[in-house]
Amino acid sequence: MKVLVAAKRVVDPNVRVRVKADHSNVEIEHSKMSLNPFDENAIEEAVRLKEKGLVTEIVALSIGTIKSEETLRTALARGCDRAILVESNENYEPLNIAKIFAHIAKEEKPDLILLGKQAIDDDANQMAQMLAGKLNLPQVTCASSLDVNGNSIRVVREIDAGNETLEINLPAVISADLVLNEPRFIKLPQLMMAKKKPIEKKLAADLGLDLSAHSRLISVTDGEVKKQCKFLTNLNDVVNVIKANGV
């Protein structure tokens, strides 16, 4: 089984992003960047399946600026076999990312496409579904466990009210929840080895796709709402706060 995984370059989850002075976008030029944590889960799962002998090859795909090469090196260090960078300076919306992904998937013909359920920058949670819709493949989103049986996978999907179990036939698209697994730490030898693995580069503009915008960002504002905390020192006052809520 061949797996195509996503490796998006995003602002590190521990960085507090700021709004640019003109509110046109967020200020991220000098921020620490990381591999999207949800993609880490997707990659970890693919690597575990490879270690079990169920996967033969893992290809990582990133769409972004040339700096995404660094993100792909991390993906390779995590155990992907080779990587593809589709280069563009555009900040594409999920639909256009899905188009590029679909294009590469048609060339690579993976049995399974495994992606993070969302990226922690735009938090859209759309790409896997759009990709599956475009390729007319079955999808399971927010997967918390995968059990491969030949040509099908039994997937547990996290839902608001609990979870559901689905049986999906390959080829398929699955998006990973954070609870899918605990990604391993990578060590220096793996980072060194990753340097030798191949990264193929393509330009998004050369793919012959219509990547025109379906939306535009008008402005961004700070969404943080800090409060003035009233510290209580008497537990009776705490009890009264709760009682005031109608208890």
Binding site: A124, G133, C229, V239
Partner: protein
């Protein structure tokens, strides 16, 4: 302008957040149809104000209701509307982007506010940033963050029209089973009070005893931080935050939760927040109306005695 809201039935029920999606829809147009998929008791739904027609495709199995199987028929129905809305819950997030992508259109997730029929506000970066975006698509596909819109009044009387929906089940995917959580956590998204516990509870037994006991005592739903869920103290569906549930109860009590941005993302719209933590510098206090510094294992039993 013509809006369609899609709602999926689960266990014969329609999520009451449909009433909040309706309020969002009315900011776009007064023509607003609701399409209910799956067998469900519609007595509540028919009373919601401002519905033009309710279409009910009742004859659908759990298998039919999977996003992979519904896409094509819903894409055809969507073509009759300018806007297609779903609540931003697990069903909406799964289904709507797929239908939009199938039609080669974009989608806007977690709409918090509607500035005009084509301009919307949505969160980014765990809600630290609010973006205003304009959609150019012929049909706007929107998932609605329901805590940001009030529920419509219950003074309506819409008629239900039965609808046949041809679902294309080609056996590429099958529904096997579902496991629904115990009642107390189901209502997390709409609970009036929530008690949330963190890693500090130390074990599932303490979590159940301290957080569970406290929640039962004050009639609250149980929430948890990701650390508590990962440690196995609480179910995944209790998780509040960027990657869990987005809640806005009247009172949110955070017990031994540090207040990481990803947790704050899920509870910052709560009306009142009470934080209990033994570290006076815990970040959670910056997002709390009331704080108490102390050891939760001593404080919670003491509070319960006082109630």
């Amino acid at each position: 302008m013509k809006v369609l809201i899609i709602a999926l039935a689960r266990n014969n029920q329609i999520n009451p957040n449909l009433a909040n999606v309706l309020t969002a829809a009315h900011k776009i147009s007064s023509v607003c149809d609701v399409l209910v998929l799956g067998a469900a008791d519609l007595s509540k739904v028919t009373s919601y104000s401002g519905i033009t027609s309710i279409y009910h495709a009742a004859n659908l199995t759990s298998n039919d209701l999977l996003a992979s199987n519904l896409t094509e028929s819903l894409a055809n129905i969507a073509k009759g509307y300018t806007h297609v809305l779903m609540a931003s819950d697990s069903a909406g997030k799964d289904l709507l982007p797929r239908v939009a992508g199938f039609l080669d259109m974009g989608q806007i997730s977690d709409v918090l506010a509607i500035s005009s029929p084509n301009i919307f506000k949505k969160p980014m970066y765990a809600g630290n940033i609010i973006a205003e975006v304009e959609s150019f698509d012929e049909i706007k596909f929107l998932t609605i963050r329901t805590i940001c819109f009030d529920a419509v009044a219950s003074s309506g009387n819409a008629a239900v029209v039965n609808k046949e929906l041809l679902v294309d089940t080609d056996n590429k995917i099958q529904f096997v089973s579902e496991k629904l959580s115990v009642i107390e956590t189901v209502g997390l998204a709409s609970a009036k009070r929530i008690v949330s516990g963190g890693r500090s509870l130390g074990s599932k037994e303490s979590f159940d005893e301290v957080i569970g006991g406290f929640a039962v005592k004050i009639g609250a739903a149980i929430g948890a931080s990701k650390a508590a869920v990962e440690a196995g103290y609480a179910n995944n569906d209790c998780q509040v935050g960027q990657t869990g549930k987005i809640v806005a109860p009247e009172l949110y009590i955070a017990v031994g939760v540090s207040g990481a941005v990803q947790h704050i993302a899920g509870m910052k719209d709560s009306k009142k927040v009470l934080a209990i933590n033994n570290d006076p510098n815990a970040q959670i206090f910056e997002y709390a109306d009331y704080g108490y510094v102390g050891d939760l294992f001593e404080v919670i039993p003491e509070i319960m005695r006082g109630l």
